[in-house]
Amino acid sequence: METVNIVENVAFNLLKQAVIYLPEDVKQALQKAYAEETSEAGKTQLKAILDNVELAEKYQAPICQDTGTIIFYVKAGAEAKNLDKIEEALIKATRRATVEVPLRPNSVNPFTQKNSGDNTGRLIPYVNWEIVLGDSIELTVMPKGGGSENVCISGMLVPGEGIKGLKKFVVDAVLKAGAKPCPPNILGVGIGGGSDIAMKIAKKALLRPLNVPNSDPEIARLEKEILEAVNMTGIGPMGLGGKTTVLGVNINYAYRHPASYPAAVAFNCWAARRATARIGADRKVEYLTHKVE
């Protein structure tokens, strides 16, 4: 098979896996939250989420009716071949998944308000490129739900307030979001770079599994502290009260301009979908997040 066809097939499989099966780390975090939640209403909601996750697997159907905006992250080996054909393959895979999985058509022209019907359109699916060493291609898909996207926020903080300002920014974002992003949520926090960079790396931070701690112990400690703070809000699952508002906080950073302190919070909902595979130069495919038969 041509490399392009392999990429299309793999991307299709990833889309299908992602919308049907929650990653193991998210499932475990939800189970743990259910075991520890003390609010009755919160517990009922978490149980319903877990039942829904199980039913989706059983019936091979998307865990949520909103199958999101389709975003890809590609780590392209500098020596990999046919890189110029990848975007086309990803678009084809998205169209096929829309019909066959099926995915909800979620791609609308912002001027005419017309839905393309196949989850594609100008710049959509969006592809984030990264060039890495080697000759393999690593593909990740993140179908990103609209309800949680609607409360994502970026801002320019006061540099003099430093980390204190950042903590308040994240806490305030969660308080403002309330029940809207279908809590429990996962937060990606991006700092530095510039306003666009902060949001981009915040969203990318959502790809880090919940059971993988930050490699920097200082930042890992900060993530824990913010997690504790936002779970003190009492918003709880679906905003019905409880101690599980956020399952995890993942921080990502870039150096900043001396005069600015850009920051961003990317929200993911409990339906935190992602799937990754690696395609070797020998065309061998390895699925890294999901088991495939």
Partner: protein
């Protein structure tokens, strides 16, 4: 917290037993209605035109489902709840006019709806956001569809459901509103968080 399993048509007496935080499962007839179906139903009422179905004692679901037609029959593909606050401007009149007993959605509703529920006897059941399969599996059949000219999501779908839930009773017929209670507590917690983590200005 008590668990209730009610079958439509639900009487006012039955619904008044429920309190916030209780868990409810509904069986029987449930109709979907979003903004436009609410608006049209109220227009019909004003003009004394009968609705396609008598809503007394039934459950109304804030949902724009994805449906599939096979032959002459409709099937549910996905049917998760939509945000209920958009229907706040209609719901008090709707409850008063049609005597529906259960409103189902996500995110909660405001004061006007809460007052109407207390006055006429109805509850708001919060269904888990995103849990589309759980909802679809409890829908046993599509009895009919009305007002399909409004579009698939806005039409009034008349559904036969079995133990549709779990619904957290978030507004009861005694004036209690769980979402408002939580919001108040969350606002109090804001100051506690600021203090504990040294975030106060």
């Amino acid at each position: 917290m008590a668990v209730y399993k009610l079958k439509t048509p639900i009487s006012e007496e039955e619904i008044r037993k429920l309190n916030v935080n209780d868990v409810l499962y509904v069986s029987g007839t449930m109709v979907t209605a979003r903004d436009q179906a609410h608006r049209r139903a109220l227009e019909y009422f004003k003009q004394e035109k009968p609705l396609p179905i008598n809503l007394e004692g039934l459950a109304v679901f804030h949902c724009g489902p994805i449906m599939k037609k096979e032959g002459e029959k409709w099937f549910v593909v996905a049917a998760g709840p939509t945000t209920s606050t958009r229907m706040d401007i209609f719901e008090d009149e709707f409850i008063k006019s049609f005597k529906v007993r259960v409103i189902i959605g996500k995110g909660g509703m405001g004061n006007r709806t809460t007052e109407a529920m207390a006055k006429y006897g109805a509850v708001y059941g919060a269904f888990t956001g995103g849990a589309a399969i759980l909802a679809a599996k409890a829908i046993k059949s599509v009895k009919s569809v009305e007002w399909l000219d409004l579009g698939m999501p806005e039409a009034m779908w008349i559904l036969e459901v079995e133990e549709f839930g779990p619904l957290t009773v978030a507004i009861d017929s005694h004036g209690n509103n769980l979402f408002e209670d939580v919001k108040r507590k969350v606002e109090e917690n804001r100051q506690k968080i600021y203090q504990k983590f040294g975030l106060s200005p």
